[in-house]
Amino acid sequence: MSNQSTRSASTSISRRTLLKRGIAGAFVISSPWMTTSARAAGQLTVVLNQGLLAKLWIDELNPRFEKETGATLNIQQSVTGAMLAMLKTQKDNPPDLMQFSEAGVFQARDQGLLKQYKTSSIPNWKFLRKEFNMADDYSAGMIDAMNTIFYNTNVIKTEPTSWAELWQASNKGKIAIPPATWNNGIRMIVTASQIATGLPLDKAQYDFESGIKHLANLKKNGAVVYNDAPQALQMMQSGQVPLVPFYVAFAAGLVAKGAPIAPAVNLKEGKHGEIVGLNMPVNAKNVELAQAYVNLSLEKEFQSKIDSVLRARCGHIDVVTSPDTLKLIGDPSNTTYADWAFLSKNRPKMTELWNEVFG
């Protein structure tokens, strides 16, 4: 048994009370600092997407926006699926703008969660390419986040020319695929369906069950599922898993740094195109500021950075895709776009089936 001493009252109490009073004091001083209600006008809440996509906005656009309008930006980051959930649960107090792709736009619009843009208030809207104007003015598409097979040039000597090569026995254990929570994961199911049924994309995408069945064969071919972008990038640049379907925009920076990875620019079944844009939730509070943000994002100077930094096609009609970008994204006519209105409606079912195989 340890010796217990009863100390004199005065010293022990004063120290303890001091500590507790200090804590209370710190709390009182800092509490206004911690309130989360947006300060009246002058604050814009934008939920951006992931990785380099968001980084371009954070690094280049946001400082300019804050300087020009005097407003403060409250930036969060998320993925399409989680953003849709956010829209549904925060219908009364949503963020002002969200950056997600066509994978979510149609579903959000059909569920009455998005507000149509008043294009007359956005001068730069006239520069938007027609195909980037998604769902009739409901989404300002800005980036074609193309997704294709990335391969490690040290391990894979010939560039893949078809998605079906992933199923070849010679590639056993060399493949990683995206999770179903990522949009390109859903596109994998569609592509698998194309290969399994032999139909072109616009017919095959409606038969996702064949797609899942064929994708299960990929599991037998030793495919692993990656969790997030750094994991996928690590896998491909180390050569440990040399074939990874991935977004060109996320990997462009690494390619520029000289990593031994390259995209397959011509695939028989088509590369996966996915247009990412800025969308305004219905009930968003700061509509004018949001429109200013969209307008600034549609400026030619910023849009040309989408070409030069992200190596992707941008929405501005006057920005010509540079040759360096074309080297990475290949022939734009080889890029295919899916019917996301259908896919997003059936996404829960597709995800469940996918989980049964890969979970």
């Binding site: 804590i23 911690m34 989360t36 954070i58």
Partner: protein, 270 residues
């Protein structure tokens, strides 16, 4: 006979020492490696580092809102630990020094948040707060953390109080001290080990929590683990290594200093 028991004793010692030192190295290993990687000039995680640089330390501020998030985490942790300890004092006094029906059941109930998955507590709370309209505020985050850490001070204080000597209190009472005097001069000091270790545990668990915080935050409210985690899952570079090294260094200095000055660890264990 003597020799074989000597060998046995030595064999025993060797095994115990070998496994213990393995465990110690195991505990240290990731920390050491993180520090080394943080000085690696390369963009990728490589070992051994081919070139050294301290650039990544300068990049720490690029972790989105990290300063703001760390401050919020620290304040919430302090407040929730303080409240939980206060509750713990009341609970332990009630459980050990007074009579109560079904003490075992009450104790089990009070300590039960530890056994519930944190994800369950987080989700249940966010739904509840949405219902009563106070979701995503700092006080709902605080309440969530109090529920999370409540069990720790209660357990350590009950243990402390159980081991303490009630005869000292009875002696003081019989010598004429009032209840308040007995509490302040005798009971409270005897509870000190439990108080300190309970507070520290509560603070650490709260500061570092992710599963409950992730459900309860939104907008300007965020915590350090959340921002660090977001950075790690979106970026390949070793900036988190620099942040981690800094964090561990600060924590080590604080604990070392606290042990030297107030002998907190020795208090907490004995």
């Amino acid at each position: 006979m003597q020799q074989s028991s000597e060998y046995q004793a030595r064999g025993y010692q060797t095994v115990v020492q070998a496994i213990s030192w393995f465990t110690i190295v195991f505990l240290l290993f990731p920390v050491l490696l993180t520090v080394i990687v943080s000085f690696n000039a390369s963009f990728f995680i490589e070992f051994p580092p081919k070139a050294l640089s301290i650039d990544w330390y300068g990049n720490i501020e690029k972790i989105h809102r990290i300063g703001h998030a760390t401050l919020i985490s620290a304040l919430i942790a302090l407040a929730s630990a303080a409240v939980a300890t206060l509750f713990g004092i009341c609970a332990s006094l009630a459980l050990v020094r007074t009579e109560l029906p079904a003490k075992a059941a009450i104790t089990a109930f009070l300590v039960s948040p530890i056994t519930i998955p944190m994800v369950a507590i987080g989700i249940a709370l966010v739904q509840f707060f949405i219902l009563i309209g106070t979701a995503f505020t700092w006080y709902s985050l605080l309440i969530g953390h109090i529920v999370l850490v409540l069990a720790y001070p209660i357990r350590t204080l009950v243990a402390s109080l159980t081991l303490s000597n009630i005869s000292l209190e009875e002696a003081a009472r019989s010598l004429g001290a009032t209840r308040r005097q007995v509490f302040i001069t005798i009971t409270l000091p005897q509870m000190t080990p439990g108080l300190i270790s309970g507070f520290i545990f509560a603070f650490l668990i709260s500061f570092d929590n992710y599963p409950i915080s992730i459900f309860l935050v939104r907008g300007g409210l965020t915590t350090m683990p959340i921002e660090l985690f977001n950075y790690i899952t979106q970026n390949l570079d070793p900036t988190p290594a620099a942040f981690s090294s800094l964090y561990i260094a600060i924590v080590s200095v604080i604990i070392f200093f606290a042990e030297k000055r107030w002998r907190i660890i020795s208090y907490a264990i004995h």
